[in-house]
Subunit: 542 residues, 2 copies
C-alpha cells in the first residue's frame, strides 16, 4: 500500500504508466540478459548534512571555496536531482530511506543520542532484507544512527556484513576541533575534571558503544574502545571495506548492495592535518578530500572492474545543512533554500543528489522532478526484480521511480510530500505549492501557503493568491490521516541497549540493569524505556 | 587613476601582469589583423533586477519554473561570471558601467524618479564617447534611467543614435498588471479621480517624458505621447533597431558598440497575453520570452552575419532582484545570496552575468573571480584599442579585465569592492572577506565581518574569527577616503528638465519655469535644484 495520495495520481496516469512500465521491464530484462542474468548492483552513499547546491554545480563550487569534482562528474555523466526530498534529520532520514516509509511510521522520527534503549524495529523490512532475499550480497559501512537495541543493528536488519556507528559523530567532539568549539561537554564523564558540586553520577551515561562490527546471524563485536585512537582510522576502514566488498562480489559475479554512509562530512573525523580548500572549513575539507574523493574512487573502481554498466550508484545527503547551532568552523550555510537540518523548510529537506549508471542513465541530465528518499527503497527493489519482497499490509511511502531514472526529466510519479518534524506533520507539498500546518491560527486558514517557483525561499506566505489550494491541501491531509487509522504508525523497538555483543565492557552490561545503588528507588528505574514523550507542537519558526 | 587599492595589487603582481599583457596585446593584434584591421564589436545587454543564479544554471531553471536557454547557451559556449558586482540599484549601476566610476563619484548615486532636474553630467566620459572617438558607431536602445536634463541624454553622451526611456518603467504601472497591483498611485494626475480634499495641484508633476529619440548633435524628439499605446510597442522597437544597427554596421565593415538595456524584464511592458512558463510570474515570462530570447536572436544574428568571432557580447543584470516591496506577481526572489536591489548585501550587488566571443573566449568556463561592472568600461576601451581615450585626472574604478576574458578563471585583477548605498560607503569587500560599515557600534569594532566562502548568505557576522581583518579593512578604507580628498566626487548635472527637445509639450516646457501661480512665493521655487538632501545614514538592516 502507498499513501492515499498516490492512488489519486495513479487514477489519472495509469494508462501512460502502464505503457512506460512495459517498456521499462523490457529494457531491464535486456540489460539483465546482457549481464548473464544478474540484476544490477546497487551502491548507496549518503552523507551527513548538506544544503542543496553545495555539490555538483561548478559556479557554486567557485563561490564556496571548495570543489566537488566527483559529484560534478556524476552530474555530467549521469543525473542531478533538483528536488530529492529527505526527512529533515539524521535518524528519520536513515529510517525512511531503508524502509521506504516516512520515519513517523516506524517510530524513528527523532534523532538518537546516547543512550536511547530504542531503535529500528525488527518488524520493519529494509532494503537490505528485500535485496538479500533476492540473492544480493549486502554490506553496511559507516554511520548507522538507527538505535542502540540489538534488533536495530544492521546485521540484524538484512546486511551480511557491517561496521557501523550506532549514533552519530559524538565521539569526534573530543578531538582538537571539538574541544576548541566546546562542542560536547560531559558525554564522556571520564574526561571531565572533578566538580565538587556534582551530586548525581548517573546523569550522563557510561558504557555506550562507539562502533560495532557484525555479521548476519552472529553476535556483534564492539569495535575499538571508544577512544579517539580507535575513531580516527574508522572512516578509512569503512571505505576500505566498501571497496573490498565491491571487488570481492564483482569477481564472484555476485550481485551486491553496498551502503556506505560516511561520518566524515559533517565534523572532522580526525583533526585536519593540512587544509587545502580555499574555504578551509570542516565541510569543505572533509567533503572534497573525503566523501567526494571516495565517490570518484568508487566510480573508477566500477569502471576498472568492468561492472559500471550493471551498477547503479546513488549518492545524496541525508538532510539539509547543519545551520542551527553548528560547531564553530563547520562552514555550512543555507545556499538556495531557507532553513537547514531539522527544518520543514525546503533547506531542511532538499539535498544534493546524483545518480550514475553508464549506459542506462543518460549523461548530463538535470531533473526538476520531485522524488523522495523513500522512493529509493521501492525503486531498488524493482531494479533487483524483488518487488514482491516489499511487505504488504502496511504503508510504503516509496514510489517506484524507475521511469525517472531511465527516462529522465518529468517522468517522476510523485508530486507530493508529507513533511514530518518528529511525529508532527509540519507541512504538505503538492507540486509547486506548499502548505505549512504548524503555527497556523486556529479558526483561520492563515497565510501558510507558499509558491515554490516564485518564492523558492519561502519568505512570503500567501493567503489570497493561493487560497484555492486550501481545501485541496486539507483534503489531501485528511486522506493521509484517515489512511493512518487503517494502517497506524508503528513503534520503534525498545529494550536494553547494547545487548547482542560478544565482547561487552562491564559498563555496557550495566546499562541493561538498574544501577545497583538505585535499587531501592520508589519506582521502576527502567519504566521510562516504553514511555513516549508528549510533543507540544512547534511554533511556525520551527 | 584607479582607486588606491589597485596600486596595492599592482605592486604585488606587476611582473606577472606585464608578461600577461604582452601576450594579450599580441593576441588582440592577431585578431585585428584577421579582421582587416577592425577592432572587435561590442554589444552590451543589461537588464533590470535579477538575482544571481536565476539565469544560466539549468538545475535552478528547473526549480524556478522558467528557462533561460540563451544565458545557458552563453555559459556553455562562453563564460559565466560567479562574482560580477554591480552598484545596488538602477541609476547608480547605469552610471557606473558607462563611466567606469562608482556612481558616487559622478553624483549619480540615487535612483531617479520623475521629475529630478538632474542627470549624468557632460563632464563624465562614457564608454560611448571613448569608443566613438576610436571610430566606433554607437547606439543606445532601452532604459537609460540617467536623468532628465539635456546633457544627460545618451545622444549627448557619445551615442550616435538612441531611443531611450529617461526614467524607469513608471508608465507601465498603469497597465492591467500595474493597476491590479496598485503599483503607482497618482504619477499621472490625469488618471486620478477628483478628490475634494486635494489642495495642491503641483505635488505630482505633469509634463514628464516617457521616451526620447535622438541623434548625436541634434535635438531630441519626444517619442509617443506618454500613453500605454505608445509604451506597448517600445520594447519591440528597441530590439528591432538594435538588430538593424548591428546589421547595417556589419555590412558596412564598421566597428560598432551597441547598448541595449531592456525595460521588459522587471515589469510587463504590455499585459502578458499568454503565460507560458510554469512559474507564470512576470519575470519568468518577460525574461524567458523577452530578454533571453532576444539574446539568442543576437547571437544567431552575429553568426549569420559572420561577425561573431569579432564581437564581444556581454550580458548581465543591473542589480539584484527586486525583493523589497515588489509589485505583486513579479516572482522575483533571493536565490543564493541575501538581500536584493538596493541592498549592500551580496544579493543586491551580485548578478547573473555572461560573456560570449566565439574563438576568443573559451567555451564552458565558470569564473569565480571578482569583477565589477566598472571594469567593463576599461576593458571595452582596451579591446577597442582606445585606452588612451580614458580621461586622466580623475578616479576610474574600472580595471582592465582583458586577461580574465581571454585567460579565464583566476585571472582577474580585482580582489576588492567598495559598496555604496546612495552616497554612503556601506561595505567593503576584500576577497572572501566583507566588512559592513553601517550600523557598527561607535567605539567598538562590532561584529560586522563576514566570510563569504563559509557564510555566503551573510547570516553570521563574526568578530573574533575575522578580527585580523579589522585593521586591514580600516587601512583600505582610509586609503580610499584619502584618495577622495585628492580626487573628490563630482556633482551630477542640474538644470531644467526636458529641455533640448524639438517637440516639447506645453506641460513639458512649463517644467522649466516656476508655475505661474506660484510666482509670488516668498522664496525661489527653483532653488531646490542645486540643493543636495542630507543623508542620515542607515541602520545595519539597510
Amino acid at each position: 500500500m502507498h499513501d492515499a495520495e498516490y492512488y489519486i495520481l495513479r487514477q489519472q496516469h495509469r494508462e501512460r504508466w502502464d505503457v512506460e512500465d512495459q517498456d521499462l521491464d523490457e529494457r531491464l530484462a535486456e540489460l539483465r540478459e546482457e549481464n548473464d542474468g544478474r540484476p544490477p548492483n546497487i551502491i548507496h552513499i549518503m552523507w551527513d548534512d548538506m544544503a542543496f547546491g553545495d555539490a555538483g554545480i561548478p559556479v557554486i563550487n567557485a563561490l564556496r571555496g571548495f570543489d566537488t569534482p566527483s559529484c560534478n562528474r556524476m552530474a555530467e555523466e549521469g543525473m542531478m536531482f533538483g528536488r530529492l526530498y529527505t526527512e529533515p534529520s539524521c535518524t528519520p532520514s536513515r529510517a525512511a530511506v531503508l524502509t521506504g516509509r516516512h520515519a513517523v511510521r516506524s517510530g524513528m522520527h527523532t534523532v538518537a543520542f546516547p543512550v536511547e534503549s530504542n531503535g529500528l524495529s525488527g518488524e520493519e523490512v529494509t532494503t537490505a532484507e528485500v535485496l538479500s532475499d533476492a540473492g544480493y550480497a549486502t554490506a553496511f559501512y559507516g554511520k548507522w544512527h538507527l538505535g542502540d537495541v540489538e534488533e536495530s543493528y544492521p546485521h540484524n536488519q538484512g546486511f551480511d556484513e557491517t561496521l557501523f556507528v550506532p549514533y552519530n559523530q559524538v565521539l569526534v567532539m573530543y578531538n582538537q576541533q571539538g574541544e576548541a568549539a566546546n562542542a560536547v561537554i560531559g558525554a564522556r564523564p571520564e574526561t571531565m575534571p572533578d566538580d565538587r558540586y556534582q551530586l548525581d553520577d548517573t546523569f550522563v551515561p557510561e558504557g555506550w558503544v562507539m562502533a560495532i562490527e557484525g555479521r548476519k546471524g552472529e553476535l556483534g563485536h564492539e569495535y575499538g574502545n571508544r577512544e579517539m585512537s580507535d575513531w580516527d582510522p574508522l572512516e578509512d576502514e569503512c571505505k576500505k571495506r566498501t571497496i573490498e566488498f565491491i571487488r570481492r562480489n564483482a569477481k564472484a559475479d555476485q550481485p551486491f548492495y553496498a551502503a556506505y554512509w560516511p561520518n566524515e562530512a559533517t565534523l572532522s573525523v580526525a583533526p585536519i592535518a593540512e587544509r587545502k580548500t580555499p574555504a578551509r572549513s570542516i565541510v569543505a575539507e572533509r567533503f572534497q578530500y573525503g566523501t567526494d574523493a571516495f565517490i570518484g574512487e568508487v566510480m573508477d573502481e566500477l569502471l576498472d572492474l568492468g561492472i559500471a554498466e550493471n551498477t547503479l550508484l546513488v549518492v545524496h545527503a541525508d538532510n539539509g545543512a547543519m545551520i542551527h547551532d553548528p560547531p564553530s568552523g563547520m562552514g555550512q550555510s543555507e545556499i538556495m533554500f531557507r532553513g537547514g537540518k531539522a527544518d520543514y523548510w525546503e533547506g531542511g529537506i532538499r539535498v544534493p543528489a546524483f545518480a550514475w549508471w553508464p549506459g542506462t542513465i543518460k549523461p548530463g541530465q538535470v531533473v526538476g522532478d520531485m522524488i523522495h528518499e523513500t522512493d529509493l527503497f521501492t525503486t531498488f527493489a524493482r531494479l533487483a526484480g524483488a518487488t514482491e519482497n516489499i511487505p504488504t499490509g502496511r504503508i510504503i511511502d516509496g514510489l517506484d521511480q524507475t521511469s525517472l531514472l531511465l527516462n529522465g526529466d518529468s517522468f517522476s510519479r510523485r508530486d507530493y510530500n508529507f513533511v514530518y518534524t518528529g511525529p508532527i506533520l509540519a507541512a504538505t507539498i503538492k507540486g509547486r505549492w506548499k502548505r505549512v500546518w504548524i503555527g497556523d491560527h486556529p479558526g483561520l486558514v492563515g497565510a501558510a501557503f507558499y509558491d515554490l517557483y516564485t518564492d523558492p525561499r519561502e519568505m512570503f506566505p500567501k493567503l489570497i493568491p493561493l487560497l484555492h489550494t486550501s481545501s485541496a491541501f486539507s483534503k489531501m491531509r485528511k486522506r493521509h490521516e484517515i489512511w493512518k487509522q487503517e494502517y497506524p504508525d508503528s513503534n520503534s523497538a525498545r529494550g536494553a541497549p547494547f545487548t547482542g555483543l560478544a565482547n561487552p565492557r562491564p559498563e555496557t552490561v550495566a546499562l541493561s540493569n538498574p544501577p545497583a545503588d538505585l535499587e531501592d528507588l520508589p519506582f521502576d528505574p527502567l519504566q521510562y524505556i516504553d514511555f513516549d514523550l508528549p510533543w507540544d507542537g512547534l511554533d511556525s519558526d520551527g
